[in-house]
Amino acid sequence: METSTYQDVNQHIVERCKGGDNRAQYELYKLYSKAMFNVSMRIINDYAEAEDVLQEAFISAFKNLHAYKSEASFGSWLKKIVVNASINAIRKRRAELVPMDERVAAEVADDITEDNDTEWQVENVRRAIQRLPDGYRVVLSLYLLEGYDHAEIGEILNVSESTSKSQYSRARKKLLEIMSAPHFAA
């Protein structure tokens, strides 16, 4: 959207950070901490762990700022760090990501029809995403909210592009199923 103007604005701050300017570091933190925290939160689904990851990610970003070449925007560079750190955290927590989802996939009913008349509420969608099992939630969040395509997701999760695609469509079905459950809206 406005990444190009953003990039130009941040370039100046990033340069100051490279020089070790504490105030510039705080400015970057203020700009990105909320968005990055939500990225981490969606993947990990645990407040304390997401905060740990956010802290680690910012520290490693400031320490490795010299490695940041402004070919991508600072935001997407930082996001990649946060996403990778979050996925590492979740992998540590749960032994395996994908195989678990294959098991869950069988439970997903195929006949969930998309009801075009229902109006979605952001809050409902968000809560339903939180209820998804880890593997589904990660793929769905990365695709829908973090704006990665399936090839990129495959790279991040170390799976094939088609795996990412099928995981997403299952996750999507599961999400609609959760939302259509009678007690969900309550």
Partner: protein
């Protein structure tokens, strides 16, 4: 395939970011990054709490470096000591310095004779060795090789035997013998050369008379 869900999320993207990290988190991050020296000129300007932790780090690094250095020195000393201890039993390892101690004059003597030998060899190499006949050449080579090996034996004896003068004399004799062998060879070659010259000057004459 049109993805209604994706469109919906895209439209309301910003509303999905509902969480905020604790405000204290920045303080924690800040402490972690300033624990690492960022700019050498700014080190002095640190506030007390930070500068204390920084100097603490420096002190730790210094102690670590000192310990490492000590371990390194200790190890190298130990290793060299071990090696010299072994050296008393295996002569080859410390051949040169030991000989310098036992017979310092030997180095000069050796240098003198080896240069002599080299000269003789060069002189010899100017002659065509085939004239001598292959067998004879081989005999000489064998003789020199025998002298060589006995010389090495003597050199080793020099390190262990108490009577170094006797061994030294034997060594010098060995070197002189080698020069003698080469001298003989030279003499033979020179004689052959003379004979050949005579025959070559005579041959054309005889040829002419025949024709």
């Amino acid at each position: 395939m049109k993805d209604r869900l994706k469109d919906f999320v895209g439209e309301h993207r910003d509303d999905f970011d509902v969480y905020e990290p604790r405000p204290e988190l920045w303080q924690e991050i800040c402490q972690e990054i300033s624990a690492k020296p960022k700019e050498t000129t700014k080190v002095i300007k640190f506030s007390f709490g930070e500068s204390f932790s920084f100097s603490g780090n420096m002190a730790f690094m210094r102690v670590a470096a000192a310990i490492l250095l000590l371990i390194g020195c200790g190890l190298t000393l130990w290793v060299t000591k071990e090696r010299t201890a072994e050296g008393n039993y295996t002569i080859a390892a410390v051949n040169q310095p030991a000989i310098n101690k036992i017979a310092p004059e030997l180095v000069e003597v050796e240098a003198y004779y080896t240069s002599q030998l080299k000269d003789k060899r060069e002189e010899l190499s100017e002659y065509d060795m085939k004239v001598l006949g292959l067998d004879e050449k081989r005999d000489i080579d064998r003789e020199i090789a025998r002298l060589d090996s006995s010389y090495i034996q003597l050199k080793q004896q020099l390190l262990t035997s108490p009577n170094s003068d006797k061994v030294m004399n034997a060594m010098i004799q060995n070197l002189q013998l080698r020069i003698e062998v080469l001298n003989r060879q030279l003499e033979v070659l020179q004689k052959i050369e003379k004979l050949q010259k005579q025959t070559t000057t005579e041959e054309p004459l005889s040829n002419e008379t025949n024709v």
